[in-house]
């Protein structure tokens, strides 16, 4: 059967957001041989391919995934590793290599430069801020801050992570933002969060010569685990219980780890063996299981699943042991602003309230926040006009399994799509390149054949 209503092949596609996910999507779309294809990539930052994730210049900020897993292309997993080898930035015996994120930004930039040189007619890069997207009779129109607009058959949102801290974080600021002014090197600071973003913040503070105490607070006070070289166990979808209640699944998974550990297999190989099925597991869970996972299990899952390079882990644990970083399990119950901030934290274990006087509060609570309060004007205007809505758990935008944005009345849009972290509610783990490139490859195949 070919008689689908929207089976017309879209010739022009505009991608809003030229960071990592937008760049990876453009690269996959341009694999199509269609000579009439027009791909437009819009990015407000000075550089294409970086986004927030890869804009750091700090060499200590390395990728959290080894180079072997970071190719931009789903069908050529060794692409980034070869690129490193060709430029003498790594040698084969060094593997696994956790490359600096700035090097990865260069890889994506070169990839887009090459595409632009080769695809003069088919790829257009526009350096401008997008204000809004509106559906038109035959497609979608993206309005730009310079007063012009781009019209295409399809618009794809690839705006990635939010740049501003979530509402309700009070006096907390983002590391490296304008509010992050010079700081007394001896000052004590407080970080909201103990995950990978906190680790990044610690490395930045070290780089700046900061020596004061760092109080890191999260509900459980858990630090992510380090990577270790291994071989993921082999699983098939037929092995994995789908669609059950969360407790049943967690029981099964803990049992699987126990059995494998008895046989001498590292737990990482079990966690990584499940990865190809994570989206399927998420999508088959009833809403109650998804909600429970986010509330109770996600913190535990994240520290095992989202790991850091061994050399970074060594630095962080040393800082914890020396008392430079203090991990606190609890929640912030009050902040008083004066010359300094007085932060009250209620301990998870004793319920006692401990008070910290700190010079600054950094927001490293991670990437999930309510999408309807996003600082991104394109996304907010879609939500405000009812052209898009948050997913039921408010992790991102509600999209179909085909990346189509769903309006407030439930209508699935054929003209406005989304990829990357915005689609977290439907695709669950869609923050890392290995998952984003698979999503982009699937979407490109569906759109262009």
């Amino acid at each position: 059967m070919t008689g689908r209503a929207n089976s017309i092949i879209p010739n022009s596609i505009v991608i809003v957001g030229g960071g990592a996910s937008g760049g990876v999507l453009a690269a996959h779309l341009l694999k199509s041989p269609n000579p009439d294809l027009r791909v437009t990539l819009i990015e407000k930052r000075p550089h294409f391919g970086q986004g927030i994730a890869y804009s750091t210049l700090l060499s200590a900020h390395v990728l959290n995934v080894s180079a072997a897993g970071m190719s931009a292309y789903a069908d050529d997993p060794g692409n980034f590793w070869r690129w490193l080898l060709e430029r003498g930035l790594a040698t084969p015996e060094q593997a696994p290599v956790y490359a600096p994120r700035s090097v990865y930004a260069r890889y994506l930039k070169e990839l887009l430069d090459e595409l632009q040189a080769r695809e003069t007619g088919r790829l257009r890069l526009i350096r401008e801020e997008s204000l809004s997207i509106s559906p038109t009779g035959s497609g979608a129109e993206v309005t730009l801050a310079n007063g012009t607009s781009v019209v295409a058959h399809l618009a794809v949102l690839a705006t990635g992570h939010d740049e501003e801290p979530g509402a309700g974080q009070g006096h907390a600021i983002r590391m490296g933002s304008e509010a992050d002014t010079a700081l007394d090197p001896e000052a004590r600071v407080l970080v909201l969060g103990t995950g990978l973003s906190m680790v990044d913040a610690f490395l930045s503070l070290e780089q700046r010569g900061h020596r004061g105490e760092i109080i890191a607070v999260s509900r459980r006070g858990l630090l992510p685990s380090p990577h270790r070289k291994g071989n993921p166990i082999k699983l098939d979808v037929a092995d994995i219980p789908l669609g059950t209640q969360l407790s049943y699944f967690v029981g099964w998974f803990r049992g699987l780890i126990r059995e494998n550990q008895k046989a001498g297999t590292d737990w990482r190989d079990v966690v990584d063996g499940l990865r190809p099925f994570n989206q399927k597991i998420w999508q088959n869970w009833p809403p109650s299981a998804k909600r429970r996972f986010v509330e109770h299990t996600k913190a535990w899952w994240d520290i095992h699943r989202h790991r850091m390079a061994p050399q970074v882990y060594a630095r962080v644990t040393e800082a914890v042991q020396s008392g430079r970083i203090r991990l606190v399990a609890g929640r912030v119950v009050g902040i008083t602003a004066g010359d300094e901030f007085t932060v009250e934290v209620q301990s998870r274990h004793t319920q006692n309230i401990e008070t910290f006087d700190v010079a600054r509060i950094y927001d490293c609570t991670g990437i999930a926040r309510d999408i309807s309060t996003t600082s991104n004007s394109v996304v907010r205007s879609l939500v405000d006009r009812g052209l898009a809505r948050p997913d039921p758990l408010r992790l991102g935008l509600d999209v179909s399994d085909n990346c189509e944005v769903i309006a407030s009345d439930g209508t699935v849009s054929a003209k406005i799509l989304a990829v990357g972290p915005l689609t977290r509610g439907t695709f669950f783990e869609i923050d890392a390149i290995p998952d984003i490139r698979a999503q982009c490859a699937r979407l490109s195949r569906r759109l262009l054949g």
Binding site: I233, Q245, A289
Partner: protein, 150 residues
């Protein structure tokens, strides 16, 4: 391989899927209506409850009902809970692998093909919902006729 346990569990769920939403059924009624030994059915329903497919209420007015709507429950999901990993023969499983005494699994062509077959089983069973299975019941001539007309 679908065991008796898997088959009984599916029959019990079809029984529950035919009830008006929210209504409970006695274990005894499900057992006699589907020729299932009652003690065995108790154990099966207990497992289905742990996995979140059915809910129970204790006491005189007690019994079982579906925990979710019948079109959300997929047959493959139920079979994995009752029978373990989907597999046409015991050696064709990754997590519940049972070695055959009489062959070498590395070179066994039968096992290789059966690993492929289990993918196909998963594809079929994970697509079909309990509601669909209920509606293909052969003993309901009227609904079968309506389905053909539609």
């Amino acid at each position: 391989m679908l065991t008796k346990k898997g088959k009984y569990g599916l029959k019990a769920l079809v029984h529950l899927a035919r009830l008006p939403a929210g209504q409970l059924a006695f274990v005894g009624d499900i057992a006699t209506g589907n020729n299932i030994p009652k003690k065995f059915l108790d154990a099966i329903l207990g497992e289905l409850r742990n996995a979140g497919f059915v809910q129970s209420r204790k006491g005189k007015e007690g019994g079982y009902r579906l925990a979710r709507s019948a079109d959300e429950i997929k047959i493959g999901h139920v079979v994995r809970v009752l029978d373990g990993p989907l597999a046409p023969i015991p050696c064709a499983s990754r997590t519940r692998y049972q070695r055959c005494e009489d062959c070498n699994e590395a070179t066994c062509q039968v096992r290789h093909l059966m690993l492929e077959v289990r993918q196909a089983i998963a594809e079929v069973l994970d697509q079909r919902s309990l509601a669909e299975m209920r509606d293909i019941a052969g003993d309901d001539d009227l609904s079968a006729a309506l389905k053909i007309q539609a």
